[in-house]
């Protein structure tokens, strides 16, 4: 194509190419792309959050006040989809884009052009998802799990969700392949696998999970599409299919998916704790093995989401046992972090606060997960607010808190300014407190019998719901503090950061100036 020739001429003088909006649209730079991922995911977080707040507003009191039941279900569904596929996953990919090349001493991602496409597929997918609210019949209201036959009944919003999932799947698979190849093939000389920062390790393993399960999700929604429009009967007993088949396929994706959203979080926390404990990470090798074990086990436990579907007894037993086993490698990680802090010389800057908060609150979510894994107990709590509590403990206090930890930690590298410590701490404490006000009472609600995905509930659940709703608004508002911190640092406010922004931070990313120049490690560094 002739169009590349003019840029080609001044190749050595100007690496930047197009300017303005075109720069962002056409960029092949991992830092630009990482930034776009992070901004996109935060916007999606706000969108999903607004839906959550509408849900909480409706649930503030029994009775129907704010939204109609049908719309409520749309909100729940889209809240789940937007948070999972729009906020948390892209945020981690944003971190991967920014940090992995810097951490392993690579000049960029292995496939820079494809990297751009991975990102730019997300806005179309988001348009399809959010746009589905505005088509006749509204967005799909079958829950983020899109179970048939309910999802077969939905209107065209469901088809939009299906295509959005396809597009996000393509994006994730390309992103994952890019990360795998970057980690395996782009490391600086001397950076052998057992010297790899844990963040790169956890992402490598996460990327394998993505490559393995996103196509399965694509298959599942494709079958939904053909059942809806082309007369197939995968999920219809009349034709010899089975609605539960969908659940098996979905959760074969879905369970690894939840680890996709937590393993990189483990990586971030494993980078931060040693820095502020001023002590090397305890049990590096066992961390790697534990991560790999979690990933492998995650393929073998999917039907713990289906204990009430009436699967054969041996199935229930098998899935219960294997699910419980996941506590072992996860425990190893928790113990390693604590052993890293043990006899360290600790300080509690904002990233460290978030990390310690993460371990504490995530572990609560892990324990409730374990209680869900006990099949007979799950019979009582399945599809109740206990589950909602469980997964917000691991997703919000797990994934999201780790993302905030990482954002505060690497903000100096991204913007060249230290984050505002005082405001950052307010953000942390407000989030921690409001988070627990919002989600802790949900355990009680679930135990006492409040089902999930309902716009209305019996009177004995009124007080705790009111409490949760108040907490949710507090939590939501607290997130605006973060926006302020980022805008301040990005617009050049606050203390200037040195190359090694944190006193005892280790790793190649801290050897380049802050903010990291547009191109780094064009000559690979040598790691001893």
């Amino acid at each position: 194509m002739a169009a590349v020739t003019p840029e080609h001429v001044d190749h050595h003088h100007d690496h930047h190419g197009p300017t303005g909006l075109m720069r962002w649209i056409t960029t092949t730079n991992h830092k630009d792309i990482g930034t776009m991922y992070l901004i996109f995911s935060f916007v999606m977080f706000l969108a999903g959050g607004v839906m959550a707040l509408t849900i909480r507003a409706e649930l503030f009191q029994p009775g129907l006040q704010v939204v109609a039941p049908e719309f409520f279900n749309q909100l729940t569904t889209l809240h789940g989809l937007v948070m999972v596929f729009g906020a948390i996953m892209p945020a981690f990919v944003g971190f991967a884009n920014w940090q992995i090349p810097l951490m392993i001493g690579a000049s960029d991602m292995a496939f820079a052009r494809m990297n751009n496409w991975s990102f730019w597929l997300l806005p179309p997918a988001a348009l399809l998802l959010i746009g589905s609210f505005f088509v006749p019949g509204g967005a799909t209201a079958a829950g983020w799990t899109l179970y048939p036959p309910l999802s077969i009944q939905m209107g065209m919003g469901m088809d939009m969700a299906i295509f959005a999932v396809h597009i996000m799947g393509i994006s994730s698979i390309m992103g994952a392949i890019n990360i795998v190849v970057t980690v395996l093939n782009m490391r600086a000389p001397g950076m052998n696998m057992m010297k790899l920062p844990l963040f790169a390790w956890t992402w490598l393993i996460t990327a394998y999970l993505l490559i393995a399960v996103m196509p399965v999700l694509a298959g599942a929604v494709t079958m939904l599409l053909t059942d809806r429009h082309f007369g197939t009967s995968f999920f219809s007993a009349v034709g010899g299919g089975d609605p539960v088949l969908y659940q098996h396929i979905f959760w074969f994706f879905g369970h690894p998916e939840v680890y996709i959203m937590i393993l990189p979080a483990f990586g971030i926390v494993s980078a931060i704790i040693p820095t502020f404990a001023r002590k090397p990470l305890f049990g590096y090798a066992s961390m790697v093995y534990a991560t790999a074990s979690i990933a492998i086990l995650s393929f073998m436990v999917w039907a713990h989401h289906m204990f009430t579907t009436g699967m054969p007894t041996v199935g229930q037993l098998y899935f219960m046992y294997v699910t419980m086993l996941i506590a072992v490698p996860t425990g190893v990680k928790v113990f390693n972090w604590i052993a890293t802090m043990w006899r360290g010389s600790m300080t509690f800057e904002t990233p460290m606060l978030w990390s310690v908060g993460f371990i504490f609150v995530f572990t609560m979510g892990g324990f409730t997960g374990l209680i869900c894994a006990i099949a007979p107990v799950d019979i009582q709590i399945h599809d109740t607010y206990y589950i909602v509590a469980h997964f917000h403990y691991v997703l919000v206090a797990g994934s999201l808190f780790a993302l905030f930890a990482g954002a505060y930690y690497w903000l100096p590298k991204w913007t060249g300014r230290m984050p505002d410590e005082r405001i950052g701490k307010v953000h942390f404490w407000a989030s921690l407190i409001f988070f627990n006000i919002t989600f802790f009472p949900m355990h009680f609600l679930g135990l006492a019998g409040m089902p999930r995905r309902v716009p209305d509930y019996a009177l004995q659940f009124a007080d705790f719901n009111m409490m949760a709703s108040v907490g949710a608004f507090g939590f939501g508002l607290s997130q605006l503090i973060f926006l302020w911190v980022v805008i301040k640092a990005a617009s050049g406010g606050g203390e200037k950061a040195g190359a090694r922004a944190w006193e005892s931070a280790e790793g190649l990313e801290w050897t380049v100036p802050s903010p990291a120049p547009h191109h780094t490690f064009e000559e690979p560094p040598v790691v001893k």
Binding site: T28, A110, M156, M223
Partner: protein
């Protein structure tokens, strides 16, 4: 140029990805519209498709030019290898979902439908046997596709195409361009014959066997598995066709020809999927 080789190749900013994104947006919206009988649907759908094809031509063309002008070093080559391998793995997982559905239906759900309370209360008299279009009382029946006619022949054709492709690869390694081109042509030809037979078989299934996508779970799994396989054969054949034209244009050397190998890997993958299909869809 020589000094470029000790550096990893990072492309200039590119406009192709955004074309691809817009294309998929149009494609997706168009498909949704089409399925829901909105008149603009098909238009957007084909517009998206056209844009996607344009994007692929442009993008792959650029990659080919970069490769031919010697910008890729050994490390880049390794990247391509890893990525193609994992891409094929992701395709394997896509097919795994459909094979899994077939397995589940045959081994679990169909027997459940024909036994116990489910049979007694809902589907009295339903005999769980494979193939089936389920206990649907309104179904008008179908004849399953036999294994030993065209499908067996097709197996032979695909296996042979694997051999001719390897033969072409040997030609490339020996720098015997004639063998390379003949081998490629033969492979593509066999692929085309395969597809011809598949199309014939579909017509036969519709016209004579009353076998459709709506023929219960057998029809569903049969058409989606063979259909997606056929789609992949088509893509593989197009890849080989590109390789053929590139060979004619003098591309590839015995040392450096990963594009050819990638297409060959893909072709072998499609081959292996077929073997799985032949065994579990047609034969057993």
């Amino acid at each position: 140029m020589s000094h470029a080789l000790d550096k990893y190749f990072i492309p200039e900013p590119s406009k192709f990805p955004i074309f691809g994104s817009v294309a998929l947006l149009l494609f997706g919206t168009g498909a949704v519209g089409w399925l829901n009988k909105i008149s603009a649907g098909p238009v957007l759908f084909f517009l998206g498709l056209a844009l996607l094809i344009y994007m692929m031509f442009g993008w792959f063309g650029t990659v080919v030019r970069e490769s031919e002008s010697g910008k890729y070093n050994k490390q880049v080559d390794r990247s391509f290898r890893w990525s193609m391998g994992w891409f094929i793995f992701s395709e394997v997982m896509f097919f795994a979902a459909f094979f899994g559905a077939l397995f589940y239906a045959r081994v679990l759900s169909v027997p459940w439908l024909g036994s116990g309370e489910t049979e007694a209360q809902i589907w009295q008299g339903f005999e769980a046997a494979w193939p089936t279009d389920g206990p649907n009382p309104h179904a008008d029946g179908f004849t399953p596709m036999g294994a030993w006619g065209i499908p067996a022949l097709n197996t032979l054709i695909l296996l042979t195409s694997g051999v001719t492709l390897t033969w072409a690869h040997h030609g490339l390694l020996k720098n015997n361009r004639g063998q390379l081109k003949t081998g490629l042509l033969l492979t593509i030809l066999l692929g085309a014959i395969f597809m011809g037979f598949q199309i014939y078989e579909y017509i036969h299934a519709h016209a004579d066997l009353n076998l459709r996508m709506s023929s219960g779970i057998y029809g569903s799994t049969f058409y989606l598995l063979t259909g997606f396989h056929g789609l992949h054969v088509t893509i593989g054949a197009i890849m080989l066709l590109v390789m053929y034209f590139r060979s004619r244009a003098g591309h590839f050397t015995p040392e450096s020809h990963f594009a050819f190998e990638a297409a060959a890997w893909y072709w072998h993958f499609v081959d292996v999927v077929w073997l799985g299909l032949f065994v579990v869809v047609y034969w057993l």
